[in-house]
Amino acid sequence: MTLGTWLALVVALVLAAETVRWLRQRALRGGRDRWRRFFKHRTTSWGVGIMAFLVILALAAPLVAPYNPNEQLGIVQLKNHAPSWTFILGTDVLSRDVWSRAVWGARVSLGIGALGALVAISLGTVVGALAGYYRRWIDPLLMRSVDVGLALPRIFILLMVVALWDGLPFAALVLAIGLTSWLGTSRLVRAEVLSLRERDFVVAARALGAGGARVIFRHVLPNAAAPIIVSAALGVGNVLLLEASLSFLGIGVAPPDPSWGNMIADGASTIYSAPWTTLFPGLAISLVVMSLNAIADGLRDALDPREEPA
């Protein structure tokens, strides 16, 4: 680590902590009930803080990483070097700086997580809303397809897709993961839409002559937003884990580009002699998923319609 990168790291930490503190103050002081409920538990604040920190790191990768993540720094002497002041997370079997790889890997993993979840949630919401609102023949058709999709474990489908089409570009990987993750959301959204469509305000909108799409997007979905948002938070975590699993198995992000998953795979063979190569990427994944779960918990509390003041 160079002085510059240390500085950048500290700035990132402070920035993240301050952001959380500022948000929390705003929420607890004045502000709407929802925000107050969101920040009620300490773990949620920690979750927001950790995510903020990691996102800042990922965005500021060039500033925070002292070395090129793919650069082999000294094949003989620096191989599997334990964590030290120069290499704060050590080096791996190909003598690459683990910290730099982790930071650049954050871009990949978090990016895939966010984009994949976006695809999944969007598709799931649309399908679920269509099925729940129009019913008749669309509903059974779509829902049976969902049943079929859910019958096969996701990893099977992904394995097949990814393994059979070699050399998949990054975008295709994201798309593939997203396309296999929308099923659960669609069921959720469908259930919400089903219960909402009989509500008076929807009937009123239809009586005013509003067409299907308008009713769905302007009236129904905003009221169904709560479980969708919670599902989105959890979805990012799920996609992340999926990508990590695929990369670990060797069919996700292709080496030498770092992703937290394939870093773990790289380090697996030397786990006994150089545990840090596996430890840190794994911790990073756990931290992200944990933070997202904590945030999802907070969102659930905040958006719970029963808690809204009468």
Partner: protein, 332 residues
């Protein structure tokens, strides 16, 4: 409709789903670009063509599909060219291992998860609950394959309490023919099952805690207390019985999780199960083996859902009573 008619309907739907999955997989694996040679070693093109003809891979797709279905009805799952043996044999060898792993993990998952969830709910927002809550949050967020590696490092390498892999000691116990070998098998099972089970249990605990808390705020719990029911009975009889309903729905979701976990865990622990088999089969583009494993996997998932639905029907009286019971319109 009556119970039997409902069951029949569900069974038919389940079979239809499995059927659709198999079709999907079949199509997927056949339209993948660059079909390799159906052989486990590189051969030159003419031999390749010959092999393709032998396996019927040069026929049009619908015909292959039809032949496959016909073969299925005879119980013939095809021939695996990457393993050079009938698929049936390969599966017969590996399925039991995955079953053992799955069953052990499931047991750990549910027993530990339920106990933790109930305990946490009974001490809600006090120190044990907060502590356990954070622990379960952490464990639940761990990637299963990473946990596997860590556990291996700790317990197998550093402490040498458990073996580093495999299902049994190859020298002394190639087959399970004595009590010692059973114990040996169990000893090998512990680490992989614990990996899957712990992560699952953390999720179940979180879920069950939420379910119990949700139930505890219900009016009928207050009624039970007002009747003078002892607190323990209130929790175990009134609350748990209702929280069980949401637990059963979760039960159906456990199977996909286990199967996914199986692929990863079996690879890491060199556990000779179906997950590892499937993974290798996909990489080798072994059509028959892949389709067969997809068949098994989807059957397990669909069965799991079916069982969960049946249990739910039995457990929730609100679902059980159908239109054949006359609900009178009141005399108050």
């Amino acid at each position: 409709m009556s119970g039997a008619a409902w069951l029949l309907r569900r069974l038919v739907a389940s079979v239809a789903i499995i059927f659709a999955v198999v079709t999907l997989v079949f199509v997927l694996i056949h339209i993948a670009p660059g079909e390799p040679c159906p052989s486990d070693e590189p051969v030159d093109p003419t031999v390749c063509l010959e092999l393709k003809r032998e396996f019927g891979l040069d026929r049009p797709l619908p015909e292959q599909y039809w032949r496959y279905l016909v073969a299925l009805t005879h119980g013939n799952l095809g021939y695996s060219f990457s393993l050079r043996r009938p698929v049936r044999d390969a599966l017969a060898e590996t399925i039991p291992f995955t079953l053992q792993l799955g069953a052990a993990a499931l047991l750990l998952d549910f027993v530990l998860g339920l106990l933790l969830g109930i305990y946490q709910a009974s001490r809600v927002n006090r120190l044990p609950d907060l502590l356990l809550g954070n622990i379960t949050l952490f464990v639940y967020s761990l990637p299963t394959f990473w946990l596997a590696l860590i556990l291996l490092l700790l317990f197998a390498e550093r402490l040498s309490w458990f073996p580093v892999g495999g299902a049994s000691n190859p020298i002394f116990c190639p087959t399970v023919d004595s009590l010692y070998c059973v114990a040996d098998r169990l000893w090998h099972l512990i680490l992989p099952a614990a990996t899957l089970g712990l992560v699952g249990a953390a999720g179940t605990a979180r879920f069950q805690r939420a379910a119990m808390l949700d139930v505890s705020s219900q009016d009928y719990v207050r009624t039970a207390r007002a009747k003078g029911v002892p607190e323990r009975q209130v929790v175990l009889r009134h609350q748990f019985r209702n929280a069980l309903l949401s637990f059963i729905t979760r039960f159906g979701l456990a199977f996909p999780f286990l199967l996914t976990g199986a692929v990863l865990i079996e690879t890491i622990f060199a556990w000779p199960g179906m997950g590892r088999l499937a993974f290798n089969a996909i990489l080798a583009r072994d059509h028959t083996l892949v389709t067969a494993t997809a068949l098994i996997a989807s059957t397990v998932v669909v069965l799991g859902n079916l069982v969960a639905d049946i249990l739910l029907e039995l457990a929730d009286p609100r679902l059980r009573v159908r239109a054949d019971v006359t609900t009178e319109i009141v005399t108050a």
